[in-house]
Symmetry: none
């Protein structure tokens, strides 16, 4: 019973593994090795993978993207215009232990509630977003 | 007697609670859940509340806004033009352990002396400022 | 509906306020001003209060105690023997961004699931534990 | 060709996944949910998993154990006597960004060269070591 409560509110590990697997497959499909991080509803890491050839700087960036998506309740791509010089949230990235404002962090929802997030990094921002969006809907599309 | 001295120089906890309560009520009134932090004249946290639905990134930001208002002796909104590229205090946010330069941090004064500050975060900057300004004058308007 | 899911999995703000109020009342009852922090199931701050006369070092300690109780799924008092020189987890406090291994952090449970935690600091460890334990069961005893 | 060079010098992602899978299976076998981190020869994260029920404090600890094993070129369990008060490396944990000196971090070798490490955390130290040692030899025992 306590398990079903947890399951309702946040990703399970097996769900995180499925999300990671979908993300890794998408990265292979587009030919760009990636770092992919999956966090729970509280922003805590559940699953991570770094493919051969993916740059190491993205170990940290992918995890920060996922955490930023949790803390902001938004895809990180939505933050980019807001943190520019002159814009409303200029300087936001320096709060909360360090946030990332470029695309590739996407919340994962169930019945309208955020239950986790995925962060992808190592490619162009477009590639990162493509892989993150594919991973973020893995539970909806999976026929398991 | 030492209490009246303290009361002159800095917020008491009961005053901080009243300020927090006024801020929370204002947030409800405008329909935007908020993180609200009240700090003393030294910038140290006295009272804090995060309403259901307020984004978690603002736990940190609201406290930094209040602390920035103490350290700068200014509302944080006044800093925004000063920290832009090319402006006089460009990079200020990276000092003193991390400051916030967007609106929502407001000093609280008594007889012209700063006795604390309030920081509000989770809405638009306009909303944050609205709630912070209402909270910052709570002691003046309260009929206690 | 998404609200009831959240409510099942983690403390609401109104619950956190009740827990804080019970802790503050207990601190008054034993005559020791306290810092009291209430965090959600992910370790994120929900409510905080520092009573007049409570030392400022405990602003940080109370929050770390609450966070430690979440991350360890244990009252912090249980950690003290484990982190001593020669004991199994010697050095534990230096991990996860800084933990606290002395008493005063207590998990809050509902139906066997941890839904948050309270951290209390400023008195002796015995006093901190007394107040934290009273606060941690506030929801069970409240007749609201 | 550069791939075979890399393969000689450090774990590949597919090897890291195999090591992680063996560790996760061992954790299930002994009935203790775990955090398991696999890092490359430079100490950089390759793969990570947190099983349902594993405490969150070990997200950080498992990664630090693996990194410590790389930096020291030793199983972390070997460090425990050395960091005690009065012993030769007292205070070691506070260097290099934070090390962990209790068991559960184990180097992974190929032909006598360290090619990565695994860090396991969430159980007793004995359980952590059991799972880490099983994972660390996954490549030798696998019939792939």
């Amino acid at each position: 019973m306590s398990e079903s409560l947890t399951s309702a509110a946040s990703l399970t590990f097996s769900e995180a593994q499925r999300i990671l697997a979908v993300g890794l497959a998408k990265a292979e499909e587009i030919g760009q090795p990636m770092n992919i991080a999956v966090v729970d509803a509280g922003g805590h890491l559940l699953a991570f993978g770094r493919q051969d050839g993916a740059i190491k700087v993205s170990i940290d960036i992918s995890q920060r993207k996922a955490r930023t998506a949790i803390l902001m309740e938004l895809p990180t791509a939505a933050l980019m215009p807001l943190v520019q010089p002159g814009a409303e949230l200029y300087g936001l990235e320096h709060t909360s232990g360090g946030l990332v404002a470029f695309g590739g962090g996407v919340p994962i929802t169930r019945n309208g509630t955020i239950i986790g997030a995925v962060g992808v990094s190592a490619g162009s921002v477009d590639q990162d977003v493509t892989v993150a969006e594919a991973a973020a809907v893995a539970l909806e599309t999976a026929t398991v």
